[in-house]
């Protein structure tokens, strides 16, 4: 059988592996769930107490930012997992078998989407309790969640590509922490208008900002986007950024997988 024919089977097996790991370690899911929930408290109430945003409450401004963080957080486990597989010979074994590489990696990333969906729901519920609202109807809201999952998918591929390139679990773990400052350089937590001009430009062109602004627009939450094109047209920009990320990360991940340990 050619790798093309086996792709769905390989993707399903690979997805199954990820989901089994989560099933055996409920703590994994719980910890990825507690982070955004804790952030509603820390950012929403601690920082929010001193924060004024135009057009509504800070917590309503914040929630799309936290949703985008959940999406961005795909990078870390994908990166560490990719590096672990490469470092411990799992990638070698899979490469010595007649399997579809694209299928394997797609399965992993797709399984991660299910995990993200499970994390987004309670995050949203906590948000609702803290005063966040969906103001533009269910259709738009589903659109926003769709964009978030699309971004998570792209981030998962990016993490996999980077992790396979790094090949060492410890190094990948240390590098993955860089996603935290990356997520701060956005409009997720504060409007970019108050930043120095150069910093605001970086934040506005950060793909995370486009996702955040797209969610604010679709949920009907308060926002104060800068003048840059991506945050003025956040839905189109999100699609653009995701397409770009996927166009780079998918071939890169498959290539790094094929060259792992060489």
């Amino acid at each position: 059988m050619s790798p093309l024919m086996t792709m769905p089977v390989d993707a399903a097996a690979s997805a199954r592996r990820i989901l089994l790991v989560y099933r055996h370690s409920p703590g994994l899911l719980l910890s990825s769930l507690l982070v955004p929930v804790a952030m509603v408290g820390v950012f929403g109430y601690v920082f929010g107490s001193a924060m004024d945003v135009p057009g509504g409450g800070y917590r309503e401004f914040l929630m799309p930012g936290l949703f985008a963080m959940v999406a961005l957080n795909a990078v870390m486990p994908a990166m560490v997992g990719g590096a672990r597989d490469a470092g411990r010979g799992v990638t070698d074994r899979l490469r010595s078998m007649s399997v579809s590489r694209l299928g394997l990696l797609t399965g992993q990333t797709a399984a991660d989407l299910l995990v993200a969906a499970v994390v987004l729901v309670p995050t949203g519920l906590v948000g609702l309790a803290a005063g966040w609202r969906i103001r533009h109807g269910l259709g738009s809201a589903l659109g926003a969640f769709g964009l978030l999952l699309l971004f998570r998918f792209a981030c998962g591929w990016l993490g996999t590509a980077l992790g396979l390139a790094v090949g060492k679990e410890e190094t990948a773990g240390q590098l993955a922490v860089l996603t935290i400052p990356f997520s701060m350089l956005t409009s997720a937590f504060v409007p970019t208008g108050g930043m120095p001009g150069w910093l605001a430009a970086i934040a506005d062109w950060n793909p995370v900002s486009a996702v955040v602004e797209a969610c604010r627009q679709l949920f009907g939450n308060p926002s104060a986007p800068g003048d840059a094109w991506p945050v003025q047209h956040p839905v189109a920009a999100t699609f653009g950024w995701c397409a770009l990320l996927l166009a780079v990360a998918v071939p890169l991940a498959v290539r790094n997988f094929a060259r792992s340990g060489r």
Partner: protein, 318 residues
């Protein structure tokens, strides 16, 4: 004679400035266990990785069951199994789930994957641990699971890259008996190892690899016969070990090794020389020395190894 299952001609591979393989030649006939023996960095792992289609050679040719590893990688992958230096298993799931998932990835179907997993768990004595997370397995159990994972499709050719490195003696014996069983069932096995006793016990033929080349290829017995006899003399405290070494050098034609701590001098004789105990004692006597113990032994593979790979002694002693 039928074509060899593994045929390697003039294989070369360079990583940066390191020449990992330098014109290596190898033939492994069907149904045999070939032991690749060599120090760290000799090129053993590179050879296995090329044969398992993980690394592309720079030059030369390598065929597995007649399929060229570069041009026909997909065909090669269908006939091989690989167990590496690491236990390449997912720690976060159970042993049974690991084997079932790999069965699915071998496209045997879910039901067949389940049945084969159960079979292998039984064969490798992992039934009791089957439904526990691999994270809690001992090193030996992980390696056994890893070996089982390489056998899901009953591959015609099995590559084992240092399968017992870092294992305790009991786990090593368990892996050894599994490998013998496989060979008895007709699989062709290529095994790399740094342990001479491992190669001695498992392999039908041994290929000594040094600096990217095969420097010898024969049965363990004949390799040992090819390098004469090992002589060891133990002397009382205060004896002149260097003088005893000089006597040995003249007698054996080999380079003496002095172990001052043990008061011992040893050498491996030139195979062409006739060496006997009375002559040895007479010569020592003539030199005014009385030995506590004099022994003549069939050389170990260590001796073969050192004789054939001069210059890597430090590495082996380390």
């Amino acid at each position: 004679m039928s074509d060899p299952v593994i045929a390697v001609r003039g294989l070369g591979k360079t990583f940066g400035a390191t020449r990992a393989l330098d014109g290596l030649e190898l033939d492994v006939p069907e149904g045999t266990v070939c032991g690749l023996l060599g120090p760290n960095g000799a090129g053993k792992t590179t050879l296995v990785r090329i044969l398992a289609t993980l690394v592309r050679p720079d030059r030369g040719e390598a065929r597995v069951c007649g399929h060229e590893v570069r041009g026909e990688a997909a065909a090669v992958r269908r006939v091989i199994g690989l167990a590496g230096q690491y236990a390449a298993v997912e720690e976060g799931i159970t042993g049974r789930e690991n084997l079932e998932l790999l069965g699915r990835l071998h496209h045997v179907g879910a039901a067949r994957a389940r049945a084969r997993a159960a079979e292998l768990l039984g064969e490798f004595g992992l039934e009791e641990a089957a439904d526990r997370l691999v994270r809690g397995y001992s090193g030996g159990m992980r390696r056994r699971l890893d070996l089982a994972a390489s056998l899901i499709t009953r591959p015609r050719v099995l590559f084992l890259d240092e399968p017992t490195t870092g294992l305790d003696p009991r786990s090593r014996r368990e892996i050894w008996s599994a490998v013998r069983e496989l060979a008895a069932q007709g699989s062709t096995v290529l095994l790399t190892t740094q342990y001479l006793d491992e190669a001695d016990r498992l392999a039908d033929r041994i290929t000594l690899v040094d600096r990217g080349r095969a420097v010898a290829d024969d049965t363990p017995q004949r390799l040992k016969a090819a390098i004469g006899t090992r002589v060891e003399i133990t002397l009382p405290e205060g004896a002149d070990l260097d003088r005893a070494g000089a006597v040995l050098a003249v007698l054996t034609g080999g380079a003496p090794a002095v172990d001052a701590g043990q008061g011992r001098v040893g050498a491996v004789s030139d195979p062409a020389r006739e060496l006997n105990l009375p002559r040895l004692v007479r010569e020592l006597d003539a030199a005014g020395m009385v030995a506590l113990d004099v022994a003549l032994r069939t050389p170990s593979l260590d001796d073969v190894f050192l004789a054939l790979t001069a210059g890597v002694k430090e590495e082996l002693a380390a």
